[in-house]
Structures are given as C-alpha cells and as structure tokens.
Symmetry: C2
Subunit: 323 residues, 2 copies
C-alpha cells in the first residue's frame, strides 16, 4: 500500500470530512404515545458513537434505524426520570449478550451506578465488559465543567432546572486536522504513511529530497462544531450563556406556547421559551423535542418556535441531522 | 330497571360467559429481534386483567394492541432477568402519570421491591397508588402454594429451574356461577335483581307466590379453565405434575429440537422437550414462545413441537388465545 501513486480509494479514507450528526431515537415526553418513544439521541463524530439519554425501547429503535449498538463508547444520562434511562439496562444486557468486551463510559448522576449494580445483581450475574462512570452530581451553579473528552469530542455539563437534578451537555468537536489534497498528493507522489504527519501540519520531503510546503498539500480544516442538549428543564436565562453560538441546540418543548403555567408547574418549557433561548444565544439551528402526549400533530409546535427562531427543526425519530 | 319483562340488553349482561384468554404482548428471548418483544402476556378473566412478565417495551405493546393498562390489577413476574421485567418501571410510571389511584399487586421475587423503590426514589417522588407485594422467594421444592386469589382466579406458583430463582404459575378460574337462561327468564318474568341469587343456585318465587325450580332458569356453568405459564426453565419432569390437565400450557421453547446441549447450558428448553411435557401432562393446548433471536422464521419450531403435541400454537404478538 505504500506506493508513490496510491489509488484514490486509499487517499479517500484520509479525506473523509469530520462529520458530526445527531440521530433522533426518541422524542416523546414521559408518557410515550402517538408512536413516539421516550428521549434518546445518537451523536456521531466521524465513526465514534455517543448516546444521549436512553428511554425505554431505545435498543428497539436502534434496531429499527440500523444503529450498531456496540459502537457506542459513551452514554450521557441527563437525569434519573425513567423516560430518560429506563432503556439503558436492556441496552447494556443486549451488549453483553452480543459479546461486548470493550468498556463503556456512562456520564450520569451517581445513583444510576447503584441502580445498574442492583439490577445486575438481581439478574444473577455481571456484565462481561467494564463500565466506567463519570458522575455529574458535582456540576453546580453556573459552572460548565468538562465531564468527558476523547480524540473526537469534548463534553461539558451544566445544571438545568427540573424537579430533580438534571444536566445539560455541550458536545464540542475536537480541532480537526488539515484536509489532505488528494490531487496534490498524486502530483507530488506522497506515500500514504506520510499523510497523517502532513495533516498534522508537516511539510513533505519528496524522493529527491525536495521540500514541499504543507500548504501545497492541504486545505484548512473545518471549524469544530458544537451541539448543545437541554432536557428536561424550565427555560432559563442561565442556559443562554452556556449554549451561546452553538451550531445546533436541542431544547425541550414539552408544551405549546400558551401553556406557560403548565410548563412552569412541571418544570418544562414551551416552544416560545425554547425559541427565545435559541434567538438570544444566537445558535445556528434549533431542534425541539420531548413532546407531550397531548400533541399528536407536531406542526403547531414547529410553527410557534419558528416564529421566533426560523431555523427550527422537529425532533423526528429516525432522522439524522448533520451539524 | 326492575321490571317484569326487562329488555334483552340487560339480561345479556348477565349472560356473558366467563371468558378466559391470554394475549401475547412479547414472545422473544433475552435479545429482542425480528420485530419481537421480550416476554409479556395479558391474562383476562372476564373484565379483570392480569399481566404476566413485563419485558422492555410492554407498555408500547399495550398501546399497539389497545390494552387499557389501568385495568391491570395484578402483575406476576417469573424471575429477575431483565427481559422479564425491564418494562415494569415504565408501566408503573405511566399508570401514575395517567392518574391511577387503584392499588396494584405485584407477585415477584423480593428483590424487585428493592429495585422499584430505588428507582422511584431516584426519580424524586413516589407513585400515587399503593403497590402490594406478594413474594415468591419461599416457593421451594415440589410445592405449589397459592400466591394470589380474587373473585376471578386463583394462582399458585412452583419452582422452575433456571440460572436464577424462577417461578412457573398456574392460573385457575374460580368456579363460575350458573348461566342464567334469558328465554326462561322472560317466560317466568324474573326481575333483574333476582338474577344473581338464581345464578348462585336459588329457586325463583314469582309474583303469584309460585316456586320456579332453579334448573328451569339456568344452565350448568362451564368448567373452570386452567392456564399454566412456564418460562424460563430447563424442561423438567417435575413440571409435568404441576401442569397436569391444564387447559392451556405456555412453555418456553427458546431453541429448536436439535439444540438440547445449548438449551441445557443456558437453562432453557427445546421444542421437543416442551411438547413432551405437554403430551405427558395431557394438557389441552400448548403455546410455545421465548424464541431465540436466531430464528427469524418460527414455522420450524411450531412444526417440531406439533410432531409430539399436535395442538401447538406459536406465541404470536397481538393474538388473543381463548382458553
């Protein structure tokens, strides 16, 4: 494979742009209805998979939408209301039954560890892979500490306002390497093994010892994208600073705009409130979800949010939104 | 309504035969696949509903098959492998959100109470209805003690053989009252309020003081039916006596007939083993289920079981089987 004029195929592997997307697996509020499942989302950063919340039936949704569950490296659980985690135990069990050995990280309130351990004990066994926990209980006040980081993303958490402790998450792509120019690569006969160094900024020395400047072989990388996830919560001023300039904001809209009292009483948000946060925070795009069972038709929610923030999408299950 | 010649409508209410049926809500083994859900069944005795096991997604299955979840009075959990109870917490939560106040009884291993209480605590609240527990931990050896009884059914439990403690259940209809003969009722001008007494065996004294013998007004009641439920388990001789002469036996058949070694190793049963139990126990009908994900097509399992026990049905989700 280390040839002076490698086939495009191999170059292409290095050219794949750092894609960043969220797939909606569940969009309903606590009471699943209207063929909607409780909250779950799959975040993909290139080939790395991250799960955000895991309501009952999430593993079935993964099967329906052809998501390879074993690819999931990390699970983020916002809070311990059942519609946000009752599918997790079943998912972990299925991963175990399918032979998973790779460890998984769960970012969650401390009590979830206790729940997982009790249910595993009750089932008479243990999982054959390791769970690493990262607890969010210490996320307090206006802080937004880092709670997870790998080569693809950096995740921080901040406090939302719900009936029980609940965190929002900011998922930020890591700085991406330069994009290698396949055409220039051919021209200068760059061996494949040199490409990673060139993407990291190195010049190339050709077979005759001539230096080829890095900028002749690369394009500037794309700006890292940011995805902010906020559920379940009252709409609050504090959120605006945390999610400022996010490329995409998911904010719950359990209720239509006229239901401010009900939203307040249940610690949830309305369409207008979520859209107002998106507008003030100057995010690129708003996704709304966590829809109450009382709305079989979601168009009214989309329309209301769009009045204040035009670039609003509904969280429709099975759709993948590129950020 | 207390009139000498009541309209047929009102008589008909008293004529409804004591129906006894089981609706399959989930039929898969631990790994849900092939559009099959993990184990759950709804037993109906007249208008009383009982749930047997409650795998993940059971509440969605109830919605799909138009089962009124609030009608469920009692839940029986065979054992604490997740595919038999991971849907229970979500179901209880939904009952709560929909305003349930009627108590519910759960017949289960003791540890399930701990799990329910921990998850309820984690969710920051409590359910607004009472859960009464009946524990099966003391069911031992060859015993088959009563674990629940109401006006419709009497339920006893016996030990199966699985990797963790697991119970089978025998659901027996209570003796049914005599069936009131609407035609004769009209003829003798029986007031509606007298019908319960007549169904219980009383003669009728007409407006002129004449005694009408009970047998002129009633038909003998149907024989009470019995449903036996056995999952998850090795096929064992001991089961035969427990389920003897049951009108209908559900016995798990995780594997096809040739997989005896695999069945043994995983504490499950094959088609031939289940059919052999049905044959030896002289039950009326066999339902097979808890199908491994490796069988997208179930016909081979039905055919194998039918070789030894012809009256075999597959547990197909959404079907109601009258016993």
């Amino acid at each position: 494979m280390d040839t002076a004029t490698p086939p495009d195929l191999f170059y292409n592997n290095f050219l794949a742009a750092g894609s960043f997307s969220v797939t909606i697996l569940g969009s309903s509020a606590a009471l699943p209805a209207n063929n909607r499942n409780p909250t779950s989302q799959l975040l993909k950063a290139d080939q790395s998979y991250y799960l955000i919340d895991c309501g009952e039936g999430t593993q079935s949704q993964m099967r329906r939408y052809h998501v390879k569950m074993q690819r999931i490296k990390v699970v983020f659980i916002s809070h311990l209301h059942g519609d946000h985690y009752f599918g997790l135990l079943g998912l972990l069990n299925s991963m175990h039954l399918l032979g998973r050995q790779a460890p998984i990280t769960i970012v969650c309130p401390k009590m979830l560890k206790e729940i997982i351990e009790l249910q595993t004990l009750a089932g008479g066994g243990k999982l054959q892979f390791t769970i690493n926990y990262e607890f969010t209980d210490e996320v307090k006040g206006g802080d937004c500490p880092s709670v997870f980081e790998d080569s693809k993303i950096q995740v921080s958490a901040f406090r939302l306002k719900h009936r029980i402790p609940c965190c929002g998450f900011i998922f930020k792509q890591q700085e991406k390497p330069l994009t290698f120019d396949a055409q220039a690569g051919k021209e200068y006969k760059v061996p494949i093994r040199q490409i990673p160094a060139i993407k990291a900024g190195a010049d190339f020395i050709d077979e005759n010892g001539n230096r080829v400047k890095n900028e002749l072989l690369t394009h500037p990388s794309e700006r890292p994208r940011t995805y902010a996830f906020c559920t379940d919560t009252l709409a609050r001023e504090e959120t605006i600073e945390h999610v400022r300039n996010a490329d995409c904001l998911y904010h719950e809209t359990t209720f239509v705009g006229s239901e401010t009292e009900r939203a307040k009483a249940t610690y949830h948000s309305t369409t207008y409130e979520a859209a107002e946060i998106a507008r003030k925070a100057e995010v690129g795009q708003l996704i709304i979800g966590h829809f109450s069972a009382r709305y079989p038709d979601l168009e009214v929610l989309r329309r209301e949010a769009s009045e204040l923030f035009p670039n609003t999408l509904l969280a429709i299950e099975g759709t993948e939104i590129f950020i």
